[in-house]
């Protein structure tokens, strides 16, 4: 479906792409690896370089990054960046188990640490160090559901009340069900090509102006829980390559797998002053001085658009593409020209990939 959608108005993939990367988290869901070969087959590409890319939930943006590098260095003129996950195949227990493989085995998995409990410890620390409250975090979920309500691609196209979030069942205190991204299935495809070939296709295009990546430690214990260093490093590289600043960004799709993540990433990406990222749930006029005029997670984010792990980083690209090319409908941010995309795998910045996407001319 994602391939058919992406190539709806284009020539066959085989005439445009000569390599392919697939972001995919886990073979535990479908008992299937070799997604590079499989996707090439389904796209009608034969005997081209094609491989799966792994980095838990950052796999999608890693696939994009590899595709961008291949096109930049002239190795290929067109590359498909794909992402796919069928998480529901193993039920919630299967997803909990498969996701836990992204965390430190020796001390953390063996202690019964789960994905939500890792982020809960970030949230606990953030609530301790800043003025943020559980209500502030809930407001981020409310905002993201509101955005998703006007996104036809969203898993939950509905608004929720703040009391619904606050009264939802505990998952890993202080995080509750509505602080957490859902389990879901999804796929996404992005064609990366040269400016020359893109111009021939006569479709709106966006430019990948910057790309950065960083891997921090795997154990949740061995990091700054509230200053997401890898996100600052990876986005710093992407901003520098693009010749742009955080204040130049109009929208940001960030890795809000848990509400606290959006707050922490608002700070790490340079949109909010330290300790004030939790205000991302507020209207711009109600945020403190020092915030840029960024709109975050306009798609509904991982929380409400959905988080099919390997596809997430590329669903972020699709939101940026639709926003920057005037195809975002009721959720459109007026005159948006530049986007920061931030995709993470493992806990927080265990691996981070950042991209700057823009319609502005190269500097």
């Amino acid at each position: 479906m994602a391939l058919a959608d992406a190539f709806d108005a284009l020539p066959d993939p085989a005439t445009l792409a000569d390599a392919l990367y697939v972001g995919n988290q886990s073979e535990l869901y479908e008992h299937q690896i070799m997604q590079g070969t499989l996707l090439a087959e389904w796209a009608g590409l034969r005997n081209v370089p094609a491989e799966r890319v792994e980095g838990c939930a950052a796999a999608g943006a890693l696939a994009l990054r590899h595709a961008v590098k291949d096109v930049r260095n002239g190795e290929h003129e067109g590359v498909l960046a794909c992402g796919v996950e069928k998480m529901t195949a193993g039920g919630t227990g299967g997803a909990t188990d498969a996701l836990s493989a992204a965390f430190d085995r020796a001390l953390e998995q063996r202690s019964g640490v789960t994905a939500p409990s890792q982020y809960a410890m970030l949230a606990q620390r953030y609530l301790h160090e800043s003025d943020a409250t559980e209500r502030d975090l809930a407001r981020i979920a409310v905002k993201n559901h509101r955005n998703a309500a006007s996104n036809p691609r969203a898993q939950f196209q509905k608004e929720v009340a703040i009391e619904t979030v606050l009264e939802s069942e505990p998952v890993a205190a202080p995080l509750k069900l509505f602080d957490c991204a859902p389990v879901g299935d999804g796929a996404a495809v992005v064609l990366v090509t040269t400016a020359e070939l893109a111009a021939e296709l006569e479709l709106p295009m966006v430019r990948v102006a910057g790309s950065g990546a960083a891997a921090n430690n795997i154990a949740v214990a061995e990091r700054d829980l509230t200053e997401i260093e890898g996100a600052a490093v990876a986005s710093g590289t992407a901003y520098e390559e693009a010749g742009m600043q955080p204040a130049d960004m109009d929208i940001a799709e960030v890795h809000d797998a848990f509400t606290v993540s959006e707050a922490l990433l608002a700070e790490a990406l340079g949109f909010a002053p330290a300790g004030l990222g939790y205000q991302s749930g507020l209207a711009q006029a109600d945020r403190a001085d020092g915030w840029t005029d960024i709109e975050m997670s306009t798609s509904g984010g991982l929380k409400a658009r959905g988080h099919p792990i390997g596809a997430t980083g590329l669903l972020q690209v699709i939101e940026a593409y639709e926003q920057l090319t005037g195809q975002a409908g009721d959720r459109a941010v007026p005159d948006a020209t530049s986007a920061m995309l931030l995709n993470e795998g493992g806990v927080a910045d265990a691996v981070t990939v950042a991209h700057v996407i823009t319609t502005e001319a190269s500097v």
């Binding site: 202690s111 019964g112 789960t114 620390r125």
Partner: protein, 146 residues
């Protein structure tokens, strides 16, 4: 381990079997960086603090303070009978941090609480989660310090 020392084998605390063998004997081992002082649990051969490789094995204090914590309500299927259970990141008095179960009620825990590291054999449920090579490894956990 530095140049000139014998090659690693599985009894070395720089490997997980070696680390857990010492833990089973009641000793928590870390690698301490001679260049920047970073303490790594379990030991690794390179320092994530400064990139140096001059690390030496050092026994760790068992006491420390809660740095962050949560109560797990949605557990891996094998541990469902235990929910809700508390998990904490503890900063040992040496500065090293590690995560483990904390045997206390969530409502009674606060950041900064003093705790003590203990070990036990894996429960039958934890044995179900264990891979073959992990079956003899002890499970570490924390108790509130008196």
């Amino acid at each position: 381990m530095t140049a000139g020392e014998p090659a690693l084998d599985a009894s070395s605390p720089f490997t997980l079997p070696g680390f857990f063998a010492a833990l089973a004997d009641g000793e928590l081992l870390a690698a301490s960086c001679r260049d920047c002082g970073q303490v790594l649990v379990p030991p690794r051969p390179a320092c994530y603090g400064c990139g140096g490789r001059r690390l030496e094995i050092e026994s760790q204090p068992k006491e420390g303070a809660v740095f962050s914590f949560t109560a797990v309500h949605a557990a891996p299927p094998e541990l469902e009978a235990d929910v809700p259970y508390v998990v904490a990141i503890v900063e040992l008095d040496s500065g090293a941090r590690l995560t483990g179960r904390l045997e206390a009620a969530y409502e009674e825990v606060a950041i900064g609480d003093r705790v003590r590291l203990r070990t036990r054999a894996p429960s039958p449920q934890e044995q179900q989660l264990a891979l073959d090579h992990e079956r003899d490894w002890p499970v570490h956990y924390f108790d509130p310090a008196e």
